[in-house]
Symmetry: C2
DNA sequence: CGAAGGCTTGATAGACCTCAAACACAGTGG
DNA sequence: CCACTGTGTTTGAGGTCTATCAAGCCTTCG
């Protein structure tokens, strides 16, 4: 956490892309050459807004972001959560207008990378292009799972599923220590992600805690028995595509 | 091999990609060289199955497909509808395992293209790579909108929204004639797409018909006053990214 | 003609929302 | 040091939306 050594964010990006696809040493070197602007944002800050025509992408270095759509009557629908290493507005490379907003759910550090630099990188390094494309495809896979989660599961299941997903994604980037996952989400955040009301989320969480399936305290999440929680939330991590790099 | 004029499906693909991005004459020519296998499928047929490791992509030439996830207790969640010109399993190029199935909602014609041919095409033609990437990004944008649709709208709104989307997408590929849109969806299909029950979908459709906002007959859909239906379903076509090719 | 698939409609039940008030806790400033 | 404020959590009660169940009907098709 906190103090980033020089270029530590580069390594975060490289590690993430390595976990998604195979990069050559040359490609890793090219990534290290990317120009960036590092910025700190606070809880509730907006990183990119629906309707924007962005000229840069954002790499989450530290913290927690979400994509969301603002709806009438002050409602909100969160469409994804993001952990360090993610580039949540990569689609801006090929879609001119943001169809959703990007906001911080915790104090965070983001690195902005100009589209121009990424385009050049992608044009000269097909391996990097493939890795970034793959990252956006995994995003899409997660969206599909969320559609199923919201469309066809009970509140209890939806909450269980989200907890599994956040835990697993956080674990995949090495931020789970001693079974403890940083967890800044409020009941309102979870509600907006699952299409529920905060009250219902609270009741589901309480039930899970009462059953000893979930431990929440100090902005940290522990899942004593992942196997049971998985079954409850019908969580099958295949949709995260963490380890199925294609074998062409 | 189908009864289509020589290469008619090629032109369908080229037209679709032209509508998404700009292709050079050379790139269009390269697309015409793609090897394909044309197949007819029936209503309810499965084109690709969850868990598969596909070695080819599918181009919908004619008909109507959907992506869906099979859920416990015989339930189903549809995550997208597809019209001719779409390549609904393009993600297979970079994701080894299908996280969902692909099925036909009407008698359809599909063209299978080997991954190997597409990979070669993409490696030599950055413009085609960008167009295909963009297609998958638009898919993702539609998934996000569906999350919002299912998560935060009433049944009446959800159905209105879906009707607007299907109409608009069909129109964009030139298949709406005299205000009539081919519409093979059953109430069960719409229910599985919106996270509702068929009964509730039926009631919403009936209400819309009673209000004169929707005309359904003979597997065709007409929307007499799109403006009102849009407002009801909060349908803003921006998320379809039909005309916002980036200006780099 | 019978069967199958889909549509229609009513009645009942249940999941979840909304409203509301109380509670806990951290940060702030006098 | 202690009120004060703001944000988030907790809990109850009532209401509503939508699911479920069930039966009848209609078309298509073998």
């Amino acid at each position: 956490m906190g103090s980033h050594g020089t270029g530590s964010w580069h390594e975060r990006l490289i590690a993430k892309l390595q976990s998604i696809a195979s990069l050559s040493g040359e490609e890793a070197e090219a990534l290290r050459g990317l120009p960036v602007t590092i910025t700190s944002v606070n809880d509730h800050d907006v990183v990119a807004r629906e309707g924007d025509r962005p000229s840069r992408c954002c790499l989450l270095v530290d913290g927690f972001l979400c994509r969301y759509k603002a709806m009438p009557h002050g409602r909100r629908q969160i469409t994804s959560f993001h952990v360090p290493g993610d580039m949540p507005d990569l689609q801006g490379l090929h879609l001119a207008v943001m169809d959703h907003s990007l906001g911080a759910l915790a104090p965070s550090t983001v690195a902005f990378i100009p589209h121009s630099a990424l385009v050049e990188l992608v044009d000269h390094h097909p391996g990097i292009a493939a890795a970034l494309w793959r990252e956006t495809l995994i995003d899409a896979s997660i969206f599909r799972e969320w559609i199923a989660n919201i469309g066809r599961r009970t509140s209890y299941q939806r909450v269980s599923h989200i907890l599994c997903e956040v835990f697993r994604k956080t674990e995949a980037v090495g931020l789970v220590e001693d079974g403890l996952c940083p967890f800044p989400l409020t009941t309102a955040d979870i509600a907006d992600a699952t299409g529920l009301s905060p009250v219902e989320v609270n009741r589901a969480l309480h039930k899970l805690e009462g059953e000893g399936l979930v431990l929440l305290s100090e902005n940290q999440l522990a899942i004593p028995d992942m196997e049971i929680l998985r079954r409850i939330g019908e969580f099958d991590p295949a949709y995260l595509h963490l380890a199925d790099r294609e074998a062409r």
